[in-house]
């Protein structure tokens, strides 16, 4: 009897140890972002690109100082080139900021994946363990034919492969998190408060986006650059020359491009706010489903404790609750990542 208890204890320890082994240390999202940004080697590339753009801008300013202001090429060197290099420098800065936001998005994405893949793995493990039990019971049952035992064995093996695939996926997510956060830790995305996007005000977003959106900035600066270029060209070329006509056409086209970019950005923001509402609705719906499943499980638990239902019935309620938990995290992930994308191109933090 003692031996049996010891064996059970050892198995329990191994099993619980195994499960604990899958868990990472939870840290706040802000802390995780800080670590990921400090740890990211590719931000070094961004800094080097910024250095190169700064060198080009300094060089353009230097050339502007020493060049003549009374010739076509001299005016180009003095006014147009420094303006373009300044645009390039600012766009590099904006791109670097965007890359930092993308790293924050990666933290969110992988941390959500961690919880989802953990849920999938644990559920696949349960299915496999049930198949093992079914197989062992079938083997003990004298009425089960050899062929039926083979069928149980086939199901058991198929579920084992699936469980191993889920384990590998989970393990891959953990490895990627390790690379990102430099340790065995995960951002506690479960603590993120899901805010209602029905309160987002378009005008507020638009004000931020006009300063922040790099595509719009690029088009705006190009419009201004073409105006500078045209003001230089018209001093040195007659109206019927190809240089004059081409500069005028480029100026008009840049203006049209800018106006069109304003309109398309407006439409994108409106559409994305609407899409956020849909994604939020799905989160709310799954929260409702989750509370129903939780209630079902609580009732089943009490019925089981009083001997009214079997352990199998209770297990099925628990599985339904676990599946809903994973679904809820999945829906939250979709919403939060869409919100992050929205923040990345509008600069609007919600």
């Amino acid at each position: 009897m003692k031996k049996k208890i010891i064996i059970i204890l050892i198995i329990a320890l191994i099993v619980s140890g195994g499960v604990i082994g899958y868990d990472l240390l939870k840290i706040s999202v802000n802390e995780a972002n800080k670590i990921a940004l400090e740890n990211d080697q590719y931000l070094e590339i961004d800094n080097l690109n910024l250095q190169a753009a700064a060198i080009d801008y300094d060089n353009a300013l230097r050339n502007a100082k020493i060049s003549s202001k009374y010739s076509y090429s001299g005016e180009m060197t003095s006014y147009y080139t420094p303006f373009m290099q300044e645009t390039n420098l600012n766009l590099t800065k904006m791109s670097n900021e965007k890359n930092m936001k993308l790293i924050e998005k990666q933290v969110l994405s992988l941390s959500y994946d961690y919880y989802i893949n953990k849920g999938n793995y644990e559920s696949s493990l349960k299915s496999y363990q049930k198949a093992v039990d079914d197989y062992n019971s079938a083997k003990k049952d004298s009425e089960t034919t050899a062929l039926e035992i083979m069928q149980y064995e086939y199901s058991m093996k198929a579920l084992k492969i699936n469980s191993d695939i889920q384990e590998a996926t989970f393990s891959q997510t953990k490895n990627e998190l390790f690379k990102l956060l430099n340790d065995e830790q995960v951002a506690d995305v479960t603590a993120i408060v899901i805010k209602n996007p029905y309160d987002i005000d378009f005008n507020q977003v638009w004000t931020t986006a006009t300063d922040y959106n790099s595509d719009l900035y690029s088009k705006k600066r190009n419009k201004e650059a073409q105006e500078i270029l045209f003001s230089i060209v018209k001093k040195y070329y007659k109206e019927d020359t190809s240089n004059y006509i081409s500069a005028l056409a480029n100026k008009e086209k840049a203006k049209l491009d800018y106006d069109s970019q304003i309109e398309s950005l407006k439409v994108k923001i409106i559409n994305d706010i609407e899409n956020l509402k849909t994604k939020y609705d799905y989160v709310e719906l799954e929260m409702l489903n989750n509370s129903i499943k939780k209630n079902d499980y609580d009732i089943a638990k009490s019925q089981y404790d009083n001997g009214f239902i079997s352990l199998d019935s209770l297990d099925s309620k628990k599985s339904a609750l676990d599946a809903s938990d994973t679904q809820l995290i999945q829906k939250k992930r979709t919403y939060i990542l869409a919100l992050k994308d929205f923040e990345i191109y509008t600069g609007f933090t919600y």
Partner: protein, 367 residues
């Protein structure tokens, strides 16, 4: 009577509709696809042009005088001479790599299209069998109705099921024929050619240890070579500028020196990033292949189970314990498991090809 005659006629027409088949021609179609590719022909021409002009270009570079003084222009002439040879060699090698990579891409794409044809043909045949079965049910219901055993609504329902099965069959048939026409265009055959016997029966490909793929990637990757090349050229430039001390004497050279150093650093970081990402891709593909192999082994086990079930039920059928239809269902189950096994092997072999592509193993191939 008229309805029955029409049904028989319809069956005869439908029997003639499916494409005529000849011997399996995966190899023949593949060879036509490769041999008729304009893209490959153009890549070969580029390579041959580069190869034939290579000796003259090298000679021209070597004859290029760089002088002996330490002037700005002579320093750059020297840089251009040395790096020019490296770039020339790289262009020739890259042109060869381009052909080999394109061939590999085409092989993978061809396999995927061929498999698509196979599955479309299978869907067409399955829906056709279903149509025949619905037609049989309908005809039998019509006979029963005439004898007064069933009511009209049952006949109407089976008429609807028969028509629905026919629409589904025609939809699948058109999908298959459309895909066949696109396939013909791809391999350079007449678009209305339907002379195919689609066969995906293959031997399982052997997989090497993971290290073989990782080493092949490090040794053969054209992108890695290109990064190394850029770094090498940048370093030569830096050495040269330092030797001529141009970073102090000329503003432009000083600027070039600073930007080249940044470019080397950026390229080195990108190279590191590329190695890490590609290694991880190779490892993930390898893991997927291992799982696919285990699934195939389990499917072989499923075939064994279905074979035994079929044999067991054949005995039951011969002894009169079960109906012919029930026995047929076991035969069908067995045949389906064999088909599923072959499909999994074909997909598995494609996965290995993808792994070989990621590991740049095609670089060892012949032009």
């Amino acid at each position: 009577m008229i309805k029955k005659t029409l049904s028989i006629l319809l069956i005869l027409v439908l029997l003639l509709l499916p494409v005529t088949v000849s011997a399996s021609d995966y190899e023949a179609s593949y060879n036509e696809y490769i041999n008729n590719s304009e893209q490959l022909k153009s890549l070969y021409t580029t390579y041959q042009d580069l190869e034939s002009s290579y000796a003259d270009s090298v000679k021209e570079l070597l004859n290029y005088s760089t002088g002996s003084s330490l002037s700005y222009y002579q320093a750059y002439a020297y840089i251009n001479k040395v790096t020019g040879k490296i770039q020339l060699d790289r262009s020739l090698e890259a042109s060869k790599e381009n052909i080999l990579r394109t061939k590999m891409d085409m092989t993978i794409s061809f396999r995927s299209r061929y498999y698509n044809l196979y599955t479309l043909e299978k869907s067409m045949n399955d829906t056709y069998s279903n149509y025949l079965s619905q037609l049989e049910t309908y005809n039998s219901n019509v006979a029963l109705y005439k004898q007064g055993y069933i009511n009209k609504s049952i006949v109407d329902l089976s008429d609807y099921n028969k028509k629905s099965a026919y629409v589904s069959y025609m939809s699948n048939k058109r999908n298959y024929e459309n895909a066949i026409r696109e396939f013909n265009l791809l391999i350079g055959k007449d678009y209305d050619n339907t002379d195919y016997k689609l066969n995906i029966d293959e031997k399982i490909k052997a997989v090497s240890p993971l290290d073989v793929y990782l080493e092949s990637f490090l040794e053969n990757s054209p992108t890695l070579k290109s990064y190394s090349n850029t770094i090498e050229i940048g370093e030569i430039k830096i050495d040269c500028l330092e030797a001529y001390n141009l970073d102090v004497t000329s503003y432009d050279a000083k600027l070039d020196y600073a930007k080249t150093n940044i470019s080397i650093e950026i390229t080195a970081l990108r190279k590191k990033e590329y190695i890490e990402t590609s290694k991880s891709d190779i490892e993930n593909l390898y893991t997927q292949i291992e799982f696919a192999k285990r699934t195939i082994d389990n499917e072989a086990f499923a075939i064994e189970i279905n074979k035994r079930l079929m044999e067991e039920n054949r005995d039951f059928y011969l002894k009169g314990y079960i109906e012919k239809e029930e026995y047929n269902s076991y035969i069908e189950k067995y045949e389906n498991s064999v088909k599923a096994y072959k499909e999994k092997i074909y997909s598995y072999n494609s996965m290995i090809l993808n792994l070989e592509k990621t590991a740049c193993m095609y670089m060892k191939g012949e032009l």
